[in-house]
């Protein structure tokens, strides 16, 4: 059985330098696309909540080709350790 979606999102940041919500969705769609919470809005909200609580941090912002906002997040070494200590 796969991890809960929120756990998988946080775990993903321990494996990459940085990612925006679209990167996270792309990486997790194989296992999680059928989940009800697998929407851009819900996952954006989950990432912002994680950032607000210091589990990840914002690395940069950009615009895509449609001028939609892309917010990139990353986990510092300390944050990666913290995520790994909570989620096995």
């Amino acid at each position: 059985m796969s991890r809960p979606l929120n756990y998988a999102m946080l775990k993903y940041f321990t494996t990459v330098d940085e990612a925006c919500v679209d990167d996270v969705m792309e990486a997790l769609k194989g296992e999680y696309a059928s989940r009800r919470a697998f929407t851009r809005d819900e996952m954006t909200s989950a990432l912002m909540t994680a950032e607000k609580n210091g589990l990840i941090e914002e690395s940069r912002i950009d615009l895509d080709s449609h001028d939609d906002l892309l917010v990139y997040y990353r986990a510092t070494e300390e944050q990666k350790q913290s995520i790994n200590s909570y989620i096995k």
Binding site: M1, P4, T49, N53, I61, L63
Partner: protein, 363 residues
Amino acid sequence: MQGAATADARHELALEKKRKLDQSFLKKGLMIALYSGITYGLYSAFIMAAQTQGVWADWMGTLEASSFLVVFILPTIATALNDLFSAVWALLLTAKQGKLGDFIQTFRSKPGIIMVAAALVGGPIAGAAYVIALSMAGPIVTPIAALCPAIGAILSRFLFKQPMGPRVILGILICVFASGMIGFTGLTGALGPGVVPGLLLAFIAALGWGIEGCIGGFGTSMIDPQIGITIRQVTSGSVNLIIILPLLTLFGGGDLAITYQCVGQAFADIPSVFFFVASGFFAYTSFSNWYRGNSMCGTALGMACNGTYSFFVPLCSWIIIGLIMGIEGFALPAIAWIAALVMVAGITVIAVNPLDFLKKKGE
């Protein structure tokens, strides 16, 4: 040159969009946290209304008001019933959202265990401490219990390094003062016999709720809020019924058979069960939004918004029990309205940095 200008313009646009995203996230968090305060008022009103119905009305009419059963056991049964119905609501909605598998997995994980601990401290432990404090010292304990937002904010400052400058401290103090204004209206000058231990227990309750708000909010940054609240209510409901209730009975020298006979009668009492089903639904809504609001706004602001329950509890009780059910004794004191305005001022002080406005105007 033109390329650099275009890049600058795109960066400015990105910054503007990010500012709007942050604002809408904060507004959403504020609404969620305030909604938790309103639904706490509804939950409290329905749980009080339930205790005016059926077998509860019989108990209140025939049993000695200061008896151990009335003061300690019946309120704990009411809380257990409410939390169990709340757990059923949470489980049903978790199943409807297809998250039961995640719920079981989360329960066994470290964040899930932390959530169970937060639920234990804030649910059965703080709840029982508050019920006993009320009976020992009287309504004077209410303003002490209202310290919980301040305690939650202080704990979050130290545990999770959440920011807490002088402006936030001032806002929290204003909100605590406002809650105290309403709490003190319950004072009649007649203090209960155990004032000092009562106040100590009320502080333990405030500490428990502060810990729950702080830890539950952080937990919800890792756990889906729907799953978080399901863990909370399942834990609280079952521990109240299986552990707290027999412990209280035995410590008070009561009879376990009578206690569980009351539980059985309460479960089978259709008129009051309808009210407990409603109170359970609003408890589910209130606590899930409390955790979620705290995780989105930070504990200080989230708990200050949730603390508006000090106003919404008497307001909802007056509307539901006083106006709709026609039971006397639930009129809303005028000071509650004044305190509500003071609370809004306190929340605004926490939420809005006047310097941000000045900066925007200067831009």
